[in-house]
């Protein structure tokens, strides 16, 4: 097998995420694509292939690749539609990478899009469950994350106050991000703890919103990347891992995230990451709930297992901390599902390219992005300003 072609993200584009009753699905996808291409003076003619990510059950349209072929700019080109659940946006970015790294295409457009306002989010998520074994007793994403949080609390001793600090960090960071949905400049820990209890121990402000939005990236091959961007975000590693099929197969799924551990260890080895806290300058992780971010930081080895609460107490993951986590405001501030994991990748790329604006972390060389979803499926991508050797 020949060595993979080096590849880099050279452009990103995002919509103004939120409740977008003013756009159709095709229009919202196109808004992100246009912003992405226009940022580098690119035209659809410059694109060789398109990968589209969408979680179809949310809007109930099951052939978006056919219906939106024109909007996606894919007429007469290879168009691949993916649905891998919450990870789909990251899986789409990984697919763009593989299409370029394989030598098959030189410039691939990836787009993730979702309009959660058009369907019933919790009912749609229930269709993820096994109809024989799980649906009768499921409680959507909220009940699932609440039960998972209980296992994490039992193992780590993390407190509601520590979780609430994650919500405060996210919604304040979001104020610096022009694309973010939930912006709460004055949010406090007390306000999070006083917000409505959705499912114990998850308060409303511990949980991500349901958003409409889209995100697009252009992945370019080695010889193209430097021409298209001054400072491309080179892909140094990608990895994917799954856990077992049923929700209860990994009873400690939030405390011990086997797929996140497996995927991150593989990516760290590929990219030569020895100490993630030291070696990364920024991370964009897929945290649908406050407790999940703390557990993910542990499983990503930003701290020792059980020390996620201390990590946020010490301010390590704040915008001015040693390793800022989700300077964009994260999933807790913006969650158009089909785009959400691609936003992690795009935000990591923006940080590497030095184009994150008001939420730019200074001097970013290496960035981590993760996608999470389904029954504990994890995608990991490591980006760097340095072209891989």
């Amino acid at each position: 097998m020949s060595a993979p072609v080096r590849a880099a993200i050279v452009a990103t584009g995002q919509t103004d995420h939120g409740r977008r009753f003013d756009t159709s699905m095709a229009e919202i996808a196109r808004e992100a694509i246009d912003r992405c291409l226009e940022s580098r003076g690119l035209h659809l003619d410059d694109i060789d292939a398109v990968v589209a990510g969408n979680m179809e059950m949310f809007e109930g349209i099951y052939l978006v690749d056919q219906l939106f072929v024109g909007a996606l700019g894919a007429l007469g080109k290879p168009l691949y539609k993916l649905n891998t659940g919450g990870t789909v946006g990251a899986s789409t970015a990984l697919a763009c990478y593989h299409l370029v790294a394989s030598g098959r295409h030189r410039r691939v457009l990836g787009v993730g899009f979702q309009k959660q306002s058009e369907g019933s989010t919790q009912a749609a998520i229930t269709t993820v469950g096994d109809p024989i074994w799980e649906r009768a007793v499921m409680a959507g994403a909220i009940g699932n994350f609440a039960a998972m949080a209980s296992t994490y609390i039992a193992d780590s001793g993390v407190t509601p106050e520590q979780a609430a600090k994650v919500a405060v960090k996210a919604r304040r960071n979001a104020c610096l991000n022009p694309h973010a949905h939930l912006k709460m400049p004055d949010i406090t820990v007390e306000e999070v703890l006083a917000s409505e209890m959705l499912a114990y121990p998850i308060h409303r402000l511990d949980m991500c919103p349901a958003s409409d939005g889209a995100c697009a990236i252009v992945m370019a091959a080695d010889q193209e990347a430097g021409k298209l961007a001054d400072r491309p975000a080179w892909v140094h590693a990608v990895a994917t891992a799954h856990d077992q099929q049923y929700m209860g197969d990994s009873p400690k799924r939030l405390a011990v995230m086997r797929s996140l551990q497996a995927a991150s260890r593989k990516a760290y080895a590929l990219a030569g990451i020895e100490d993630p806290l030291r070696d990364f300058d920024v991370a964009e992780v897929y945290e649908p709930a406050t407790y999940a971010e703390l557990a993910m930081c542990e499983n990503l080895q930003f701290c020792a297992m059980g020390q996620g609460g201390r990590l946020i107490d010490d301010g390590v993951t704040f915008l001015d901390g040693q390793l800022p986590v989700n300077p964009s405001g994260g999933v807790l501030s913006t969650n158009p599902v089909g785009a959400t994991a691609m936003i992690r990748v795009a935000e990591a790329a923006m940080q590497v390219m030095g184009e994150a604006g008001a939420h730019q972390v200074p001097d970013v060389s290496r960035a981590l992005a993760t996608g999470y979803g389904g029954n504990a499926w994890t995608d990991v991508m490591i980006l760097s300003a340095e072209r891989p050797r």
């Binding site: 229930t126 009768a136 039960a147 499912a199 209860g248």
Partner: protein, 162 residues
């Protein structure tokens, strides 16, 4: 048409088209689930599959994801177990089995049957966070034999023993 004009309108006047789609499904439970639900319905027993490495799994399945070995042996587990995760749900939620809102609050958790290595989600007879907790002992409460239909709902809920 003027391209600019196509994009300019008052957002309050955006038109939304409402549709309701009702789809009907009939899922084949398959050989493993049929054996499990038949034993649950007719004998009030909880069955699991085991592989040669000793992994015992509910729901029963043909292959163990951890070892990759076939799960050819059937063993009885439960009906008591331990809570591996739990919550009290307050948010109104449409029950996919009925299409109506499930009464809140209700308890919900991951139950690991005694003798099994994996857990299943099920309902708890608790409505207060004080009543539940990871590690608490629970017992399956079965529907009366005449009301059982051969589904996971033949277990009405789990009673907290601690």
């Amino acid at each position: 048409m003027n391209a600019e004009a196509a994009h300019t309108f008052n957002r309050d006047q955006a038109i939304r088209i409402e549709q309701q789609i009702t789809l009907r499904y009939r899922f084949a439970a398959g050989a493993h689930a049929t054996r499990f639900f038949t034993a649950l319905r007719d004998e009030g027993k909880i069955l699991a599959t085991r592989d040669a490495a000793g992994n015992v799994m509910v729901p029963p399945r043909p292959v163990c994801g951890l070892s990759g070995l076939p799960m050819t042996e059937w063993v009885e587990v439960g009906p008591n177990g331990v809570l591996a995760g739990c919550t009290i749900v307050y948010v109104p939620f449409i029950d996919p089995m009925t299409g109506t809102q499930r009464p809140v609050p209700y308890g919900f958790g991951l139950v690991r049957f005694d003798g099994a290595d994996t857990a299943i989600y099920h309902l708890l007879d608790a409505t207060d966070p004080e009543q539940i907790g990871v590690g608490k002992r629970v017992q399956a409460v079965f529907k009366p034999p005449a009301e059982r239909t051969g589904s996971l709902a033949d277990i009405r809920h789990f009673k907290i023993l601690d």
